[in-house]
């Protein structure tokens, strides 16, 4: 149990932990000790109400042993969850299973792949929100802790921060200052949602609709790097099943209707490899402005937050580009107005160029602002970043 910092497991946290498993106090002694009973087999454990007891450490050990036995968990799992409690973080677990994985061992190469893949998947989620929260990437990655690797399959545990302020040096959140959904929780939800979306796309994938589905992936901000990261989790020969699970920290209300678990089977590996092969490259330019004409509008009410996809055409240098831009209701309304009045728009966001097989496509994910350009357009798209991005492509197919 050496990975547990006993000093941080306070008595109220221990009490909360037992309550969360449905345990109840059956007797309280005058000396400040409560007797807790499990709901399952009526096993009991004596827990002090404050951590000044000389045998407090022993009490934690007993809680871990008894809880593991009663709830049919491994001691490592109980320790992980206790640790989650005092770290006040969501816990993300990636588990990779295959017949060639031996108990207690993880080969160096496999370990590197799993850790790197997790990092790239996390970065994907962070990037989706980094436009809205400055400094998110460095703070989120800095505050993420890795847990121990459990015996059995490969399990990578990452404690993901909940972060409600990005400009503080404090690593540990206080338990009482989390009102509403924190930035970190948004990232953690985004992370699992992106994987769920990927799984849906894999399930619907066929050779005839591959381009459409890959474009769908790109509109949620997937990059070549993230696809490769996911592919590596299936192992070098693609024979591994893997699962990602998020255990939401109790310090913040569990997101309602939020799926917390996604499972990929080794049969998905072939499709992910196909996607990865087809998606030759992705290139992103952050925070660019483009002057363009609105040529198409489509709204999606099925998602949690209504979004719209607006197709714009823009002359960048001497090349005409078609860009699919995803935007919120307000931006969508402005784009719609410009379309009706046949006006140009100035649109800002991160521009992604993707090469899908022989095609090249442009996407603008999370548009940050849209303005209608009144009067004639006398400004050209001369942003060097944009010109560089487009000139790298031989030609643009619309």
């Amino acid at each position: 149990m050496k990975t547990l910092d006993y000093n941080l497991v306070k008595a109220d946290a221990l009490e909360y932990f037992l309550l969360s498993y449905g345990w109840v106090v059956v007797k309280s002694f005058k000396n400040g000790v409560d007797v807790w009973k499990s709901k399952r087999n009526q096993k009991k454990v004596w827990v002090p109400k404050d951590c000044t007891f000389d045998d407090y450490e022993e009490a934690i050990e007993e809680v871990i042993d008894v809880l593991a036995f009663e709830e049919q968990l491994s001691s490592e799992e109980v320790v992980l969850r206790l640790k989650q409690l005092y770290l006040a973080k969501d816990l993300l677990q990636i588990r990779v299973d295959a017949s060639d994985i031996k108990s207690g061992n993880i080969s160096f190469n496999d370990g590197v792949h799993v850790f790197n893949s997790l990092k790239d998947i996390m970065l994907g989620a962070v990037k989706e929100l980094s436009g809205s929260f400055k400094g998110l990437k460095s703070k989120f990655m800095l505050d993420t802790d890795l847990g121990q690797t459990a015996v059995g399959s490969y399990i990578v545990n990452a404690y993901l921060p909940l972060l409600n302020e990005l400009d503080t040096d404090s690593k540990q959140l206080q338990l009482d200052n989390l009102d509403g959904e924190t930035i970190g929780r948004k990232v953690n939800k985004t992370l699992i949602n992106r994987l769920i979306k990927l799984k849906k796309i894999i399930d619907h994938y066929s050779d005839t609709n591959s381009n459409v589905l890959i474009q769908e992936l790109l509109t949620i901000g997937y990059t070549k790097q993230e696809c490769n990261a996911v592919e590596k989790l299936f192992g070098e020969v693609g024979n591994r099943d893997w699962q990602v699970k998020v255990l939401w920290s109790h310090v913040q209300q569990e997101p309602s209707n939020q799926v917390s678990f996604v499972e990929f089977s080794k049969n998905d590996a072939v499709i992910v490899r196909k996607i990865s092969e087809k998606l030759k490259s992705t290139d992103v330019r952050e925070g660019v402005s483009i002057f363009a004409r609105v040529v198409g509008l489509k709204r999606d009410h099925a998602l949690e937050e209504t979004t719209g996809t607006v197709t714009i055409k823009s002359d960048i240098g001497d090349i005409e580009c078609t860009i699919k831009a995803e935007m919120d209701d307000v931006c969508y309304a402005i784009a719609n107005d410009a379309h009706k009045r046949k006006k140009y728009v100035k649109i800002e966001g991160n521009l992604l160029k993707a090469r899908i097989g022989k095609l090249k496509r442009f996407f603008m994910r999370k548009v940050t602002s849209v303005e209608v350009v009144e009067g004639d357009l006398d400004i050209l798209n001369e942003d060097p970043q944009l010109l560089l991005l487009v000139s790298n492509s031989d030609s643009v197919e619309n």
């Binding site: 002694f29 005058k30 000790v33 007891f53």
Partner: protein
């Protein structure tokens, strides 16, 4: 196996035999918290537990004062663990006093097994601290023999009050 180890095993055997007699279970801690044996009264409401520090000796003296006591030199480290007041569960010393010759520790008679000499308990909680560096001599009343009646009584008290004293 040296004699000390043999003596410790005798204490464990005698104590756990009494547990078996009254339906208590026992466990040994993997970590060293200064406790050798935990006895659980699972048939009681609160599953009371008593932690025992087990000691065994062939070197002891029985003093007949007002009440007869066994005098025993206990290691200071063990003493300090046992006098602690701020602990969740009672911690008792259980001392086995044994003949010098292991051959006579156990004797089997027809329909009877005889164990010599016996095991005795004492609660040192709250006793004054000591400046001794090696051992401290403690007194255990001869009336504190650990048998099925004594262990049942101890469990009942702990179940009711959470403590013995």
């Amino acid at each position: 196996m040296d004699l000390n180890h043999q003596m410790e095993l005798m204490n464990v055997s005698m104590t756990t035999a009494i547990c078996a007699q009254i339906g208590c279970t026992w466990s040994k801690r993997e970590q060293d918290f200064g406790i050798d044996l935990q006895i659980h009264g699972e048939t009681f409401e609160t599953d009371p537990q008593i932690d025992f520090q087990l000691k065994a000796t062939t070197k002891f003296s029985i003093i007949n004062e007002k009440n007869s006591v066994i005098k025993y030199a206990l290691d200071v480290k063990n003493y300090r663990d046992l006098i602690k007041t701020n602990v969740r569960k009672p911690r008792l010393l259980c001392l086995a006093i044994l003949p010098k010759d292991p051959k006579i520790w156990i004797k089997q008679h027809p329909y009877q097994i005889e164990l010599k000499y016996g095991i005795y308990w004492v609660d040192l909680k709250g006793q004054p601290s000591t400046s001794n560096s090696e051992t401290i001599t403690i007194s255990i009343p001869l009336s504190n023999k650990l048998d099925s009646i004594a262990l049942t009584n101890l469990m009942e008290v702990v179940n009711e009050k959470g403590a013995i004293s």
